[in-house]
Amino acid sequence: MAVLRVSALHKYYGSVHAVRGVDLEIPAGEFTVLVGPSGCGKSTLLRTIAGLEDADKGTIEIGGEVVNHLPPRSRDIAMVFQNYALYPYMNVFDNIAFALRSRKTPKEAIEPKVRRAAQMLAIDHLLDRYPRELSGGQLQRVAIGRAIVRSARLYLFDEPLSNLDAQLRDEMRSEIKRLHQELGKTMIYVTHDQVEAMTMADRIVLLRDGVIEQAGPPLDLFERPASRYVAGFLGSPAMSFVDAKVVAAGDGLALRLGDGATLALPARRSANLGNWVEQPVVLGVRPEHLGRANPGERAGLARHSATVELLQPTGSRTYATFSLGGTRAVAELQAHDVSAINEKIELSIDMNRVVLIDPVTNRVIS
């Protein structure tokens, strides 16, 4: 059953149309990540669900009940804020106990609940401290503790890790995911970081300019993006986009790039592209679609000679930048595949996995 159902939701800030008709259903127990660039409306959507902003049009249902008219306290939600929002004049125990006390939980029930939440987050030794005495990571744990101490229908996270340094962010990411698995609660998590979205989500909802661009499991979005925008947003380094034209080549089809190079398309893909012969398309290639060519390779791999322009070793892998049809593209190679820039190498492109995009609509051609 859907814990949250958002239907045709609109939100305006003056003349700015921040959320433009969003429809969303979130099943019980799912970890949903709302992701998108700054200003895409993801935080606004979350705040509207929380009741901190009024919806201008559309309905929000939580547990089957329309909550548009309800104040935040009556929606049975818990929320973690970007800046922790801890009360500086209360110690950690009182901060965590705040929601329980506000909801008139019996006194004797408060302490065990607070201690349990604190134990789950490994902050039970900090209960007497004040927020000013804690590090960033500890503050974030207390903020999460304040939300999970109560049994709410819906847990909302508004970019909770954006103030932490990279290492701590990795740690807290797995911590939150572990908490979700342990508690089995319905959680909605807002972030602008696609790595966070990919690693944490059961389902990603990618927003752009106040509308949902695509929603689905992370690997679905990654492997089968619906549009150029989704394809470019997910993945790091990002997908490279190369202008091309579909041409007939022998029995099948091929892509001709701007510099005249042709890349043969496998038969399975050619079958769907009958209408696109002699039409321009955009070829989307992820770094992992490219590799160093080996003799006697399997079908579906196209070859391309390239001169390496830039090398970025990461240790386990090396990213090599080169020119593909006049556009810069990045290949993910084995650490020792290339040794120096300006080296000429033979690359293979996995044409079964590359993405073809309609340059007019920017939708992916299936």
Partner: protein, 306 residues
């Protein structure tokens, strides 16, 4: 400060490994440095003490006059301190009921401060969080405070005669409240704007009503600001002379008005003037001493990052 300074006795101590080879030269060097530091500290302290003496002297003189006999007050050359502490003047002030005017001042200052703080805080919250009255209402409100009291006191007097409010507690309290409200609203609005919105939103989500948010979150966050604003409001009411002079007669005359009664056509009652002034000064000392720690802001540091 003294903790950071090296003790004078440490001057000749050798510093570092090379000190063993040339103990004298190095020892001398550190000694001059420490001496210079000590000298500078000494000069600063002397300057501070001198300045304090200059500023404290009138207050000292005020207190001393109140304990002197008439002959000591007019003695020339002046006596720096009374031969014995003589409480006769205070006795007279309390016996004749003059000291009750200090009580009047306390009543009007306390209640007008409480009322102005309560109303002002609510107005300020509304301005800060709901932008009540648009962007410029707050500026307009604070401009009310700039009206010269003398320009409004006589129209108000006529109004008060009509309403029967002259020489009543309620009349004076209402006027001080009205005059202090713009100041309270302006100051509290600033303090409330400094409270991160997320703290309030978090409390709203956690089960609080808007009133509970104000009580449990905004008020504690603004404690320092509330105390500082209340002190200034209290001091204004306490020190006011012009409104009290026009709007009070005998029933609720404040101590500032009472003091003027001791300036006579033939002579001035210096002992009474100074004793009454002492009675008027002490409560302010007490209030400030008790609330001094609230002047130090920074109570909310560390809560919010970013």
């Amino acid at each position: 400060m003294s903790a950071a300074e090296p003790p004078q006795g440490a001057n000749s101590a050798p510093a570092g490994g090379s000190a063993a080879a040339k103990p004298r030269a190095w020892g001398d060097h550190t000694s001059t440095l420490a001496q210079r530091r000590g000298l500078r500290l000494g000069l600063r302290l002397t300057a501070a003490v001198l300045l304090t003496l200059v500023f404290m002297f009138p207050i000292y003189w005020l207190f001393m006059i109140s304990f002197k006999t008439a002959s000591e007050i007019y003695a020339f050359p002046p006596r720096w301190y009374p031969s014995s502490f003589n409480f006769d003047t205070y006795h007279v002030l309390f016996r004749d009921g003059d000291a009750a005017t200090v009580g009047n001042s306390l009543v009007v200052a306390f209640f007008s401060t409480a009322l102005a703080m309560f109303l002002g805080f609510i107005c300020a919250y509304s301005l800060a969080r709901f932008s009540t009255g648009g962007k410029h209402l707050a500026n307009w409100i604070v401009s009310q405070r700039m009206i010269p009291p003398i320009a409004v006191v006589f129209p108000i007097f006529l109004l008060y005669v009509w309403f029967g409010l002259v020489d009543t507690y309620i009349g004076v309290i209402l006027l001080y409240t009205a005059f202090n409200l713009p100041y309270v609203i302006w100051m509290m609005r600033g303090y409330i704007l400094d409270v991160p919105r997320a703290l309030e939103e978090s409390a709203l989500v956690d089960g609080c009503t808007r009133w509970e948010v104000i009580w449990k979150v905004v008020l504690p966050m603004c404690r320092a600001g509330l105390a500082a604003t209340a002190i200034f409001t209290f001091v204004f009411a306490w020190n006011d002379f012009i409104f009290a002079l026009v709007l009070t007669r005998t029933e609720v005359a404040t101590y500032t008005v009472q003091i003027t009664h001791y300036f006579g056509g033939q002579s001035n009652f210096w002992a009474k003037i100074s004793a009454m002034s002492v009675l008027g000064t002490v409560p302010i000392f007490v209030v400030t001493a008790f609330m001094q720690r609230y002047f130090v802001r920074g109570i909310s540091l560390g809560a919010i990052k970013g």
